[in-house]
């Protein structure tokens, strides 16, 4: 009788059989989407051998909102409200990224004042994002007070955002070719107050955690991402730089006038959770440095481009003059523009989490033909299995919080 040969499956692992080396069944654990240690509605399906994660399968889609599709039904200026909600921790960076993509599509450059203000607000937003991420990383490992002290400083930033943009979280601050409004008169003084007090909390966090035995014990050597893997997975931002790759869009492809400022692109060597923590602290120090330079000699002039086919005229003129009134109507009514040229554009900015890219296709109509976002979190979420498989389940928490995955932009 002919021997029956069972064809070998493409990949033979004990994992697929759901058994460990001793032949015992692995336990399947659903972590998330409503787990307190999950940052947002993320889900990880874990196969556990005791406390060791044998296999980890990230699942997304629990916060799917159709943001990209919505982009086809909103005008370029209206869509900025949606970008707020993609990354609610650094909405201003998202606003800036979106406005910049639209400006590249139109082929306009915004005014020097607008660009400078965008740098300042973008870096402030980066501070608020990083201090939260660092605080949550500590909180997930049991150090609650560090997070709360960070929150106190973050509150100061949010008060400033509220003063400048009119909202704390959903700022919707930019418009195509400018900003929603100029900054208030006390803006510089308020930002100075932030740059004076903020370094203290960075140093304090550093002091409290960097040599803390529990914290280092749980983060050093945990979730090591090599530079090659980081590049292969498309990881960007602090996570990439913590693995030792010096790549920062503010340096590599300067926008908004970043080339004029003197700042370092810090990197770490280890690529573990601890390195990512240190990386964020360093980046905050650099952000403060940039803001300090940017506050000197803020260019005067208007914040919006001088083009009534694109930017709304000033309100006082609309109330009093006929021509401005007509342009105001034409820009707001459907059927009169503003119309971009036909074409496609990919534009990327360095958001706090990494490269935030927008790919826009325009058919010359009022709404985009297609909006595609390249959110940094998408790439960070997919490396999770790489970092946690073979490690303890408690390491997973340390890894996940160091990646700062934002469900809103992950699922969009």
């Amino acid at each position: 009788m002919a021997e029956t040969v069972t064809p070998a499956p493409a990949v033979v692992t004990t994992v697929d059989a759901g058994r460990n080396a001793a032949g015992e069944k692995l336990m399947v654990l659903n972590m998330g989407p409503q787990h307190p240690a999950m940052h947002g509605t993320l889900r990880l399906v874990l196969e556990l051998d005791g406390e060791t994660v044998v296999r980890c399968r990230p699942e997304m889609g629990f916060l799917h909102t159709g943001f990209e599709k919505l982009g086809e039904y909103r005008s370029y200026n209206q869509f900025v409200t949606v970008t707020d909600r993609m990354n609610y921790l650094s909405a201003i960076n998202n606003n800036i990224g979106w406005a910049q993509a639209c400006e590249e599509l139109w082929g306009v450059e915004c005014t020097p004042r607008c660009r400078r203000l965008r740098v300042i607000m973008g870096e402030l937003s980066r501070l608020s994002d990083h201090i939260l991420c660092v605080g949550l990383q500590a909180m997930d490992l049991g150090a609650f007070s560090v997070m709360l002290w960070g929150f106190a400083r973050r509150e100061q930033l949010y008060d400033l955002f509220e003063r400048v943009t009119g909202a704390r979280l959903t700022n919707s601050w930019t418009r195509v070719g400018g900003l929603m409004q100029d900054v208030p008169a006390d803006f510089v003084a308020r930002v100075k107050a932030v740059t004076d007090t903020f370094p203290e909390i960075i140093d304090e966090t550093d002091k409290m955690l960097s040599k803390n035995k529990i914290f280092t014990g749980r983060t050093r050597g945990v979730g090591v991402l090599s530079a090659e893997d980081a590049i292969a997975y498309g990881v960007t931002g602090p996570v990439l730089r913590a693995s030792g790759v010096e790549y920062d869009l503010r340096r590599a492809r300067p926008y908004s006038g970043y080339e004029k400022f003197d700042f370092d692109v810090p990197t770490q060597t280890d690529g573990d959770s601890f390195a990512r923590f240190q990386q964020r602290l360093e980046e905050m120090r650099q952000s403060v440095r940039i803001i300090r330079q940017a506050l000197v000699d803020i260019p005067g002039g208007p914040v919006n481009v001088d083009n009534y086919k694109l930017s709304l005229p000033a309100k006082e003129l609309v109330y009093t003059r006929m021509e401005e009134m007509i342009h105001h109507f034409k820009l707001t009514m459907i059927g009169h523009g503003p119309y971009p040229p036909k074409g496609e554009v990919y534009s990327a900015t360095e958001a706090p989490n990494g490269e935030l890219g927008w790919y826009l296709v325009s058919d010359g109509k009022r709404n985009p033909y297609r909006v595609r976002v390249r959110p940094p979190s998408f790439y960070h979420f997919q490396v999770v299995p790489k970092l946690v498989e073979g490690r303890l389940i408690s390491d997973l928490v340390a890894v996940l919080s160091s990646l700062n995955v934002i469900a809103g932009e992950l699922d969009r």
């Binding site: 200026n77 003063r163 919707s172």
Partner: protein, 172 residues
Amino acid sequence: MDAAAPHDEPESPPAGEKPSLSEELYLPEILKGLATTFKHLIRPEKFTVEYPEKKKPIPQNFRGEHALKRDAQGRVKCVACFLCATACPSECIHITAGPTPPEWTDREKYPTKFEIDMLRCIYCGMCEEACPCDAIELTSKFYQVSETREEKYFGKDTLLRQPMKREYPDQG
């Protein structure tokens, strides 16, 4: 993935800076940490606000609930041009226009109905930005509480009754 890998011992952490003796002993470090904690406990700066009794200053340009403005004669300022409804990204403004009463000589149209679905509204302020005659504004009112959904569907009367920005004290 290598099947045997999961059962290996996790590799030891890379050697960082060598901890000093006092860090090795741990107790002095705990005391130092506690010192920081107490420093925070007694620092004069307070970040929390005892909310209902004390209120935080709300800036002038805060985007809260809407109000419709009145002109000098106390009539609604709106001319029912529909610009706000067009600019609204969440499509939550519903206006019905009608001819003005004969004694209103300055315009022909005014809103007979002006409704905003506050549960759809995202408080972006684009309606205020779009209004060509300064008739709608987002006030500093941020406590958006009601017992039913219907109450959050603001009609013209509610919108005209809303307190205006300037009626709020301290505009930070």
